[in-house]
């Protein structure tokens, strides 16, 4: 079972990203769960969401304490203390940042793989607004390959209707621009 924790701010579509990811896995015939640590929802406040993906039915209903993957939608959260808490050793971090992954090796010492993309820049360019949830999913796919890009785009079409095309562009652009660094070197 793969467990993913997503960090972002209210208004960036953190919960939607978790749901889209789960829906894509479900559409590929697998089992998935997407849920959020709901609080008083306010634009700009830090938000946590979770996705579990598995090949058989998921019975577990507890929160995710030791994620395999951490996804960060907000560039200001990359430096937040405790962000990497619980990350499995050799886990993956997917970050919205203009920095190179090499520059973050010390910051995420436990991570086995670091992926970076300037999702804010892509979102502004493709969507005209800094809603980074779809762009960061492109980076996540590039770093982990957990679902197919086409499946993800199919979910966009169901969910975003008129805005689907722009989001498809954002996700493709992010997929291409993502830089992935393994402990063993850049892939």
């Amino acid at each position: 079972m793969l467990e993913i924790r997503l960090h972002g701010r209210g208004g960036q579509g953190v919960v939607t990203a978790a749901e889209i990811l789960a829906t894509a896995a479900i559409n590929e015939g697998r089992f998935a769960q997407a849920f959020a640590a709901f609080g008083p929802e306010r634009r700009g406040a830090p938000v946590l969401a979770f996705t579990r993906i598995n090949d058989k039915e998921i019975l577990l209903r507890a929160q995710i304490y030791e994620p395999d993957v951490i996804v960060v939608l907000d560039h200001n959260l990359v430096s937040m203390e405790g962000l990497e808490e619980g990350l499995k050793s050799n886990g993956t971090v997917v970050l919205n940042t203009a920095s190179e992954p090499e520059a973050l090796m010390k910051r995420f010492a436990e991570a086995g793989r670091i992926a970076t993309v300037d999702a804010t820049d892509i979102a502004i360019k493709e969507l005209g607004t800094p809603i980074t949830n779809t762009a960061i999913l492109g980076a996540l796919l590039r770093a982990t390959g957990i679902v197919r890009l086409e499946t993800l785009e199919g979910v966009f079409k169901e969910r975003f209707e008129a805005y689907a095309e722009k989001n498809v562009k954002a996700v493709r652009s992010a997929y291409q621009q993502t830089k992935v660094l393994d402990r063993r070197g850049r892939s």
Partner: protein, 388 residues
């Protein structure tokens, strides 16, 4: 049959749409809101031909439901926590007037302090209201149980409350397979119901029941609830046959040879199963019992399942301050009182106000239950995860 990713709340909305309800009267409250939001979409865009009654409170929502149900309409509402509490007095009328209303209660803690998160105190506070209470543990089960609920309600003429855990089920996206709509319509055909109130049939409903009559009138609802045990079993068997499911009053996991078991309701039983599985791999004879019907409480089958089990941990997600124990424990204990060899019962309270219950905490509950089973003695209630 279509498999898609849906939240528990949306799964309920799809079920209500397939049930082709006539009237929806509801007031929004977190975490229920997205159910009636989705339903109002369905009504507005013409996918569902129903009257959507906007009301100013849950008290009015339930009152409107009672009135609508008395005309023979198929009626649905949904609420949570404070909303359910605000319906309180009308809930008793709905059951005693024998209105087959279906309501989703998305379980949420009661104030104070204000808390939007999940526990079972809302439903537990209404356990004597004469409503049938069914508990679903996943989005799929929420959908299926809601469809069953209409059939049950209209058959036994009692209102049915389907409980789903706030956020943990209501807002979690997971795979849901939609049943065939035609088959749903055959299972619960839309038909004029009791038709008690109409311009042609002028009846008086909700009259005064003086001491000479109240008792008899009340007993009718008691009798209906008792008789519903057999009917729900049959209606559920019919559902299982048509839709290829296996729903029961109580779900028992690894109970064939269990030495000890944890008993709970709702979505937490999933985590309990995961922990029991890992205990089994270590050679422990641990089991899980999940109560699906809370009212009517299936105490006879519970005793059958627990035959030979030495210790049971009962996990309550609500408290009864000053009571002999907490609500689920009390029902389990009195339900098992007639057993010749009763298991030892250890009480737990966990997950109040949305506090997460981790696998480690489930592990602790299993181990305390095992201790009680081995020693033949249970300790006082354990408040799991409570800080001192």
């Amino acid at each position: 049959m279509k498999r898609l990713g849906l939240s528990g709340n949306y799964a309920v909305a799809y079920a209500v749409k397939m049930a082709d309800v006539d009237v929806i009267a509801a007031y929004p409250i977190t975490p229920q809101t997205t159910i009636v939001e989705k339903l109002s979409d369905f009504v507005a865009n013409g996918e569902l031909d129903a009257e959507y009654v906007n009301v100013e409170s849950e008290h009015s929502a339930m009152s409107a439901c009672v009135g609508a149900s008395l005309t023979g309409a198929r009626v649905f509402t949904a609420t949570s926590s404070q909303g359910l509490a605000y319906m309180h007095e009308v809930l008793f009328m709905a059951s005693a007037l024998r209105t087959p209303i279906v309501m989703t209660n998305v379980n949420r803690a009661l104030s104070a302090p204000l808390n939007i998160w999940n526990d079972h105190s809302d439903a537990m506070a209404e356990r004597d209201s004469g409503w049938i209470q069914l508990w679903a543990s996943s989005a799929q089960e929420a959908l299926d149980t809601t469809i069953e609920a209409f059939k049950i309600a209209e058959d036994v003429l009692l209102p049915v409350m389907v409980n789903i855990d706030g956020f943990i089920v209501s807002h979690t996206y997971e795979p849901v397979t939609l049943p065939d709509e035609g088959e749903v319509k055959r299972y619960i055909p839309s038909k004029p119901l009791t038709n008690r109130l109409s311009p042609r049939l002028a009846y008086s409903v909700g009259v005064v029941g003086p001491p000479e009559y109240y008792y008899e009138m009340k007993y009718q609802a008691v009798d209906a609830m008792e008789r519903s045990r057999q009917r729900i079993k049959e209606i559920e068997a019919d559902f299982n046959r048509r839709f290829g499911k296996d729903y029961k009053d109580i779900n028992a996991y690894y109970m064939e040879d269990a030495e000890y078991a944890l008993l709970a309701m709702g979505s937490m039983t999933g985590t309990a199963r995961v922990v029991a599985e890992s205990l089994r791999r270590r050679g422990e004879r641990a089991g899980v019992v999940s109560i699906r019907w809370f009212r009517p409480f299936p105490f006879e089958r519970l005793a059958e399942i627990l035959e030979g089990v030495r210790g049971i941990g009962v996990m309550d997600r609500a408290v009864t301050p000053g009571g002999p124990s907490n609500p689920l424990f009390v029902d389990v204990a009195s339900g098992l009182y007639g057993m010749a060899e009763r298991p030892v019962l250890q009480s737990f309270v966990a997950g109040l106000g949305g506090r997460d219950v981790s696998t480690d905490e489930f592990g602790m509950m299993f181990s305390k239950t095992k201790e009680a089973a081995r020693s033949g003695r249970a300790g006082p209630c354990i408040y799991v995860g409570l800080r001192e």
